[in-house]
Amino acid sequence: MCLQLPVLLLAALLLFSSCNKKEGTDFDGPKTKVRAVQSEKPTIKESEQLAAQIESELILFTQRIVSGNLPDSFSDNENWSQLSNRFLNSSEQSRNVKVSVFEIRHERSTIQTVARMEMKARLNNQNYFGLITQFESTWSKNEDGQLKVLKIGDPEQTVLNESPVLWFRDETDRLTAKEPTFAEHLSRGLDFWLKRIESIHGIDAFINNGMALGDFDGDGRDDIYVCQPGGLPNRLFLHQADNTILEAPKKTGANYLDHTSAALFIDIDNDGDQDLTLATPSGIVLLENDKHQSFIRRGILQTDEVDCHSLSATDFDLDGNLDLLITFALGSRSLDNNSSFRFDDARDGGSNQLFRGHGKWSFSEVTALSGLSEGNDRHSLAASWHDYDLDGDPDLYIANDYGQNQLYRNDVRDGSRLFSEIANEIGIEDRGAGMSVSWADYNRDGLPDLYVGNMYSNAGKRITGLSGFMPKNKEELTKHYRRFAKGNTLFKQEKNGAFIDSGPATTMGRWAWSSVFADLNNDGWEDLIVANGYISGPRPDDL
């Protein structure tokens, strides 16, 4: 088995805590050639150390750009001067910079990097201003290990934004102020509770819990159900007339303490109110909405696995009764003795399960019957139903961690519904660390398109981009590993039913959990939002 990406990412993590930041580079200094140290090709660890050093140097450089204090050697450079001038009329405190080195190459005596620079500020005319650009830089290292900048290339692919208003206002405090349980419970994050609730209850440092919107009390306003890890109660908040939220009374019966990964408000019994379903390690909990007042538990659909993730509802057989799909990440199966876990193609995941609804709270498990057992051994974090081929029935896309994704086309064969897995056939297998699925016709050509969330990692890009990252005969694998750090994928559907990767413009979503379409600015075109951050711990060292 080959080197694994996590090991490499970990190496990078280690050294971020150990590398000592050097004195600032003299960007103003004369460009004399320093005598470079000729060294062996650096190890991954050394390369990462250099990247960290260069990144901190470039932060200093970026700070000089936004503060208008351009190094002398750049004063004649129109591109950088123009960019710097954009920040002249901005308040000093509002300026914010972020620099990420995402490519590093080691030549005989120099180091080449490509970095992304993100800057924003509030202009004196009160407009919000942001700028993203990327540029190359060349460095050399002298005998004392001191880095010297040899060249900073021109800014490229610059993106400018300016707006008199921010698109969104954070109104969390106003909406939650009246509800005391919010301050006691949800204002505190997972790390707080991890130290206070025994892990045996079903809470761990890597756990994820979702959220659902739906109108529980029938007043026409969406209420909100917040899922929680084991040992903390899920919370149902009711949407008040003044748009604030208050928790539903205890007697409602929504405060489940089991780890709940996902929830759905759906009208299971087609009686006009919103029932609730929960994905838990005990199975899918079915709760009937009783007169908009409380929930009656109608049963639990037993599942074969416990590491539940997404829950989705559809009517795949168009019989008027809703069906439920639950996905699992880790599986309880053990791999054959001869095979081991493959980061790029893991086949030890839990089997997802499809439950067909028959009405009157009756369900039967139809995973195998419906053809969904094909390839049903991956770590499935997300799933979404959509009639992608516009033939009238919903098809299913599943995003898998550590491997390829799946599209199950819903076909009628011999009078029954059968799914066929065709992701490779139509080009949307998107082998990566899949975490999110969203469908929309973003280009308004009538054909559904697809956005898949995958992690983006600067460290991963740097390391997998190094020459010699893997032995020469492993080119195919190297490609896969690079893919794993690339980020999200936007697939555009063509008229012939095939999908094409629409390129790098929307890949850099960072860690990227929910990566979803929505028209955020009311112009009729569905935008993309990517929710971010994996784990922000109290210690600042990071990848």
Partner: protein, 412 residues
């Protein structure tokens, strides 16, 4: 990507990357942390990163994203769930383009009532069509509103709307202007109205307050390390670890001096002194504290107190100042078990789907001691708790591990 519990096998060098990563995170390191959310604006089919002007700057590790026009003002607002606190955030849309919006709530008759799977196509004059589909579950662990939202540029005039009900004929609707509508299958749109509902929506009359203590659902025997002081007789005893220069510690001590807690024997330990006189014991206390949780703290918070029952088992851990009434209550409840104990072991009330009753596994605690290289205390613990440990199927393995570690120690 939940790397932590991925089950990733060993790396080439024999290391265990998943475990290493878990250890890093449990000790408080960040991993792709402090990242702002990213927004790409769709400009007629091509995308531009506009994150800097969206105001979505919260860096609390976002997970699920749900959309709804919460205030029914024609634009989509956002609820985001987070790993860090606050665990949910609400972002209200400022409608930056000033465009219109139309919200459609569908209700099926010959298809499922929620109309999940219904596809709605909206055609504005001289514009390409927009399509939305009713979905339940998308993105990552999220369900957005079932109301379909269409943004409309200011100049847009709607020509028609087609509703493709799942498994049914399409319905065409003309003469519709921006607004909020309810459409029942086969009927004309009616204006969507919010109603007052009958549930008494008042703040919960019994707001639950969080007490910073864990009443453990598992009872860990600790006779090996905390001998019962004779003065405790048949009462529970409380070990309280304090430090100097700690206001809470000083206040707590003063309070107990003036009014000693009833029904419990107090044993105060000065942490700084213990660090000098018996560092191994301090390490054991730290391990005991960390044993129950999936995250470790590098320094035990002080004051910290451990409530130990008549059978010398650990029952509760208190952080900071201890409320006298709570302590009394815990002493009274010290022998509860089953579902009563389970309910008391979590900070807030609620119900469980599973009937599983949890019990302590002292073997895991011995493993922790061995992991920390505390071989003699581990051997001591095994001797004292032989009877309960023997019942664990992994006990022979544990003994083997202990022997192996001991022989490693002898032959360096």
């Amino acid at each position: 990507m939940p790397l932590g519990n991925s089950g990733i096998g060993p790396g080439l060098d024999g290391s265990d990357p998943a475990r290493q990563l878990q250890e890093y995170v449990r000790r408080g390191a960040s991993f792709s942390g402090n990242e702002a959310h990213v927004v790409f604006n769709n400009e007629k089919g091509s995308f531009k990163n506009v994150s800097s002007i969206t105001g979505l700057d919260s860096k609390d590790d976002g997970r699920s994203v749900c959309f709804t026009d919460w205030d029914l003002d024609g634009d989509l607002d956002i609820w985001i769930s987070n790993r860090n606190g606050p665990q949910i955030r609400f972002f209200q849309n400022s409608n930056p383009s000033g465009g219109h919006g139309i919200n459609i709530h569908l209700s099926g008759k010959s298809c499922n009532k929620d109309a999940i799977g219904a596809r709605v196509i909206l055609k504005a004059r001289d514009k390409s069509p927009q399509t939305r589909t009713v979905t339940a579950g998308s993105g990552f662990l999220a369900q957005s509103s079932k109301n379909l939202h269409f943004g409309l540029a200011k100049e847009d005039v709607i020509e028609e709307m087609q509703i493709h009900w799942p498994g049914n004929k399409a319905q065409i609707i003309s003469n519709i202007v921006p607004g909020n509508y309810h459409i029942e299958q086969g009927s004309e749109p009616i204006e969507f109205k919010v109603r007052s509902n009958e549930i008494a929506k008042e703040p919960n009359p019994y707001p639950e307050t969080f007490n910073d203590r864990t009443f453990l659902s598992q009872r860990l025997p600790l006779t090996a390390f905390f001998g019962r002081p004779p003065e405790a007789k048949d009462k529970p005893f409380l070990i309280c670890l304090t430090v100097e220069d700690c206001q809470v510690c000083a206040a707590q001590k003063k309070e107990w001096k003036e009014s000693p807690p009833a029904g419990v024997h107090l044993q105060l330990i000065n942490q700084s002194k213990l660090a000098l006189t018996d560092p191994e014991k301090l390490q054991i206390i730290q391990l005991t504290y960390d044993h129950f949780f999936d995250i470790s703290e590098r320094n035990i918070p002080t004051p910290i107190s451990f409530l130990i029952d008549q059978k010398n088992r650990l029952c509760a851990i208190y952080r900071g100042h201890i409320d006298q009434d709570l302590l009394l209550e815990d002493c009274i409840n010290i022998n509860i078990n089953g579902s009563e104990l389970r309910s008391r072991s979590v900070p807030f009330s609620g119900q469980w789907t599973s009937k599983q009753i949890l019990s302590a596994r002292p073997l895991n605690f011995v493993e922790d001691l061995l992991d920390a290289g505390l071989l003699d205390p581990a051997a001591n613990y095994i001797n004292k708790e032989m009877n309960s440990l023997k019942e664990d199927e992994l006990f022979p393995m544990l003994l083997k591990r202990l022997e192996a570690l001991k022989s490693d120690r002898i032959t360096p």
